[in-house]
Symmetry: D2
């Protein structure tokens, strides 16, 4: 792998210059007022990026997985009922975590490549007349399959059922890249990490809690200490932290939010859509199909591409790395060997995206997949040429 | 605070150039073989620095606090008996974490400023004829009081009692700076972080598990998912990680170990001792006393300095920050307001140490403490002058 | 322009991570022995890269232009006769500099796009029976036209004429990227800069002097002080410098040479050839022509591409910058508006090169040049696919 | 030498974080409009820092020595008469350069440690009734002796003599650190570099030309090409450069000017004075003397300290480097072995300055000079304690 080629994994993303420099900080005293000058603006900016007026933002030196644990361990008790669908590796992993925590799960299995089944959720919630289900878990963007689900529909399902369940959303590979509306969608806990839409190295779990989620905290009985938001809350009130914060990353988070807001969130989303459209055009030109079943499921941050029957999709990833020094995403879980993934989130330009598409073409050709060299590139170029008429402000 | 002045907090430390550069990495694919080239050497090097032949090393994107949680949640079950002494803020915090996990603690309270009471441990363990105590928790270096305890003596106490309890050691502010002997002392779990002896930014919990501790894992019933070492183990075997690793920090950890080993661990320890001796000479010259009660308790990584009765020691820390842009450590918990702390761990030179001592002098003088300007500096200079005859190889 | 897209100007090149870090140094005392540890290895490494056993290497805080001035002002006197051909902007500029220095030039004008006329040189030198011509100036690689000349042939011409003239070679855009043989070709002065084959920021003039060139120095009467190699020589002997050196860049130069030698010079040249072949295949696929008239003139570091009659080639460069944030080279001098240039020197991968080719395609299409999107990319992919069978070791 | 200790050479200075990051730039196309966005603000900011409304600012990839050459070669012709005093190594070197250029110098030798003899200048200029003297060269701050001269007095001398000579000032170690008034003092050419008051790495010659100096350019007959300001002028008008600019350093220069102006020039000067007063107090406490003869000559950027008879001052510098990893300045020329120098310019805090003073004390004591350890530190602390009441805004 060349340090100079862009990466096309669905996170960690390519890190913009300005963010690398913001993270690369000399040590400051995290118990001094300097820390508050990093902490408070970062929390406020994340809140705005979630499109929330009142979410409590918590930032842990951890990862998205730690964010999941924060979400459930601060709000639930052993045996609590949880409704969740499994449509990919990351929903599967969150389910696994819940099970290890002794929660009582109702799992709706849907084919990998499908989105969240809001209608099934509505049926189940309606049937739960005793309102025993405490939480609905929803993965906004299934990074493994490149499937974006309709969180507004999930909220509508809960409401239609007249059910008081809280809504927890894994927005790890959507927040900061695709539209996310904490308040409007009635999200109770949103979870993300530093290494996706925020374009930073991994190392931060970033979570937002609604008032209802905060209110659930005192009675939640699941064990938690490192991930206890009450310690964080107390710390934040004193511009401090319950343990040593990852100051550089938080400084980077601040800067990342500035970049996103300077570009304008809607422009950021439009840019991600454009990048994704180019990749999808290439996939069509190659005669291949996306794992995501329908256009409304297409993710703007990652495309999982099905390879022909009998072909091991992971060979593409491995060949790209060894032959060209380029990183793509491998298939995970049920779709291992069946798909390879092109991440197109974070700070990406048409020029960078085309280099990934061109490299994928070479790899597939090298490995015997039939396609015309340049065909995917040409299709993507067509998209990016029209796209450039819109404002594509690039990250410095 | 000036970004150019050294910091004198007891961690995070001043970060050497080479380590800042090692951490500041472009994104690589953490699912590619490149990651193994960082992961495996880092684990092996940490093992050597622990002076162990066989400890299993786990590295979490977290902090030392997460390391504590890793230690107990992977080895113990609710209600398990734990023996521990409280002699400062960090032992207090670990105790608090154990209590939140529902462990059954026998706490020996000793005055802050004292070391671990090996003799009391021996009595208690001897009395525990049913061998119900599963673990003895020991804080090697109490960062809050600048007290180093004798872990070998704790081990001897356990052995003298003929007790099978495991020994878990918080080495957060000792490992990499002061002598630590995992194998020789029969340590079962050692805990540290990236931001102390390893001279890196905060963001990694680093733990070592003995065979016995590993063997305790399958039956341990405390909840854990993010901190479950079994997931790590499985991941490591495939040169992977159960979630997204903090690759840059791990690359930095590798480099940090190279620096420590290039200097020679014993030289590193000698250098820390020399730096500390200079600070202690200054304290004596000022007519002040250390929180640590006796020379054998003196920490080589941090000195907690008692200020005169009626004086708020925290004013020194605050004045140093605002008046001179220099960070010292404040007193915590029972000794809040009574001590201020000079951290002297990690990459420090006599020249840097003298600048901290000189600044502390100015602050104390400014705030009305009687002392002769230059007196502490002169005493430290005397130490450093003789010290320079030894090999003080400096971090690049 | 995006800071994340590669640049495709013929220097300064894309700077590899490792070199950016090597240049970004804290201040050291340039009068201390530390400086010698940077200076001497850098000079020795440059000598090896020139393929010379004995050239004296001088490194000035300047640029290639300063290197030209160093070459002539240290060896010639006002009125001295110089033989030179003009076949592009850079040979033109060196001629201009000689004229300003009061030298007496015999200029052979050849069409831009042609190489150096070794046969004409031989005639002129043969006719110069009095051996009044002191120096033949030769531009190894005309960066403006993408034309590589045959320096061995120029040397052969001088020898065939039995002429004692010295041979000065501008290797600014060849050294470190294309084969250069100081000793074998009987070069007397070679000139380059830091920002081309060495992949560093601009800021160093790097020159090599043969014994004969050194011997010409004492009697040379052209004014020089900043560029006087005698001061440098004296300085170097004491591991010092006549003024303040650009230490970080020199540290970077050292590191750059290490990278080139670790890859192996012949591999570096082969890689450059491969990258260039891909670009040239794209040009053919577009139905366009190179400025360079014949394959043996093709430069492996930069391609100057003729655009159709009536089209302003500079519009491509401007559109690429504003529309896609990508930098290509504009036409200079006689070929301004007639060519645009793709630089493909330094640290470049097939993936990066393809991104430039794809972007150039979009620009040309946007501006109304007829071509098939993807056609150039496909042609280059074909080259890079076969190319990858050879060792393409990439810069870290 | 430790990369972590501050340097105490009189330039290059310690480089603030923000400036290291500003210099460490990815490659941009220096022929694109992006370059103008760096070039023009940098020139405008330097003009303001010179306190000039109209000086033409030229920035060369070179050093202060190149700035000297720029000054004379663009304004003078062989045989032109120049008046200059020699009072240290740097005035000596400029004289040497003039002599090599064939200028006709009237040299007033004054003892090293003295300032420029304005009265002698007045006599000589008055006697030059034919106004043959074209230029008076003045070194504002003799870096070798730590002597600041009164440029206003030199201007007054020229005026008193009713003489039309131009005034060229070497402000290399004063501009950006000590008050410099281009317009008010009637300076015609001011010369500096990037590595002193601008706190950057070496690599830029920065010069300002008055209208008169500009007017002298067309008729000046000294050879120049690399340093020809006419090429620069033409380039700047097109937001370009006659050759490849050192873009990163120029970006750093921009940022440096922002830092200086954010702090406020008068605050910068006051801070330098404070730092210097602390060092001078230490010198007095050690019972030593400055090379500078009288307080009005004391430089605020560097102190040259005379060591006792029979003692080789350079041993201090060498011992500091090898024993403590700290860089001081050695004595140069006539005062070699008689003085050592402490540079205190650029981004320096009291804490940093005290570390240098403390280290110097240890070195002198180690080498047998009689002094009380801590005595110089105490004297400096007294200065810095009072000083902190003034605004000492520190460079980030």
């Amino acid at each position: 792998m060349s340090m100079q080629n862009p990466v096309f994994i669905p996170g960690p993303t390519n890190i913009p210059e300005a963010l690398r420099k913001a993270c690369d900080m000399p040590t400051i005293d995290h118990r001094s007022p300097l820390f508050g000058e990093i902490l408070h603006p970062a929390r406020a900016a994340v809140r705005r990026i979630l499109k929330s007026d009142s979410a409590e933002i918590f930032i842990f030196p951890s990862t998205g997985t730690g964010g999941w644990e924060t979400a459930i361990s601060n709000t639930l008790s052993p045996g609590d009922k949880v409704l969740v669908a499994r449509n990919g590796m990351f929903s599967h992993k969150w389910i696994d975590m819940c099970q290890r925590h002794g929660l009582d799960l109702t799992i709706v299995d849907v084919p990998w490549g499908e989105g969240l089944p809001a209608d099934r959720f509505e049926e189940i919630l309606t049937a739960d007349s005793g309102h025993e289900i405490k939480v609905v878990l929803a993965t906004h963007n299934e990074t493994a399959t490149g499937v974006k689900s309709d969180i507004a529909a999930v909220r509508a399902a809960i409401d239609a059922a007249g059910h008081p369940a809280m809504l927890f959303v894994d927005g790890v590979s959507s927040i900061g890249s695709m539209d996310f509306r904490f308040d409007e969608w009635g999200v109770d806990v949103a979870v993300t990490g530093s290494q996706k839409g925020f374009m930073l190295p991994a190392g931060l779990a970033i979570v937002g809690f609604s008032e209802r989620a905060m209110a659930a905290t005192p009675t939640a009985k699941l064990h938690r200490t490192f991930f206890d938001i009450r310690d964080m809350e107390k710390g934040y009130a004193a511009s401090a932290y319950p343990y040593t914060p990852a100051v550089g990353l938080m400084n980077g988070l601040n800067e990342a939010c500035k970049m996103l807001e300077a570009e304008g969130l809607e422009n950021v989303f439009a840019r991600h859509h454009l990048m994704a459209e180019g990749v999808r055009a290439a996939v069509r030109a190659w005669g291949l199909e996306l794992c995501a079943g329908r256009p409304e499921l297409y993710s703007d941050t990652v495309s999982a591409i099905r390879t022909p029957e009998g072909f091991n999709a992971s060979d593409i990833v491995s060949h790209a790395m060894h032959g060209y020094g380029v990183a793509f995403g491998t298939g995970l879980g049920e779709v291992a060997g069946k798909v390879f993934r092109i991440g197109h989130l974070g700070s990406l330009t048409p020029t960078m995206a085309l280099s990934g598409i061109a490299t994928a073409e070479m790899c597939m050709k090298d490995l015997g997949i039939e396609l015309d060299l340049g065909s995917g590139v040409a299709a993507a170029q067509d998209v990016y040429r029209s796209g450039k008429k819109t404002t594509v402000k690039e990250a410095a």
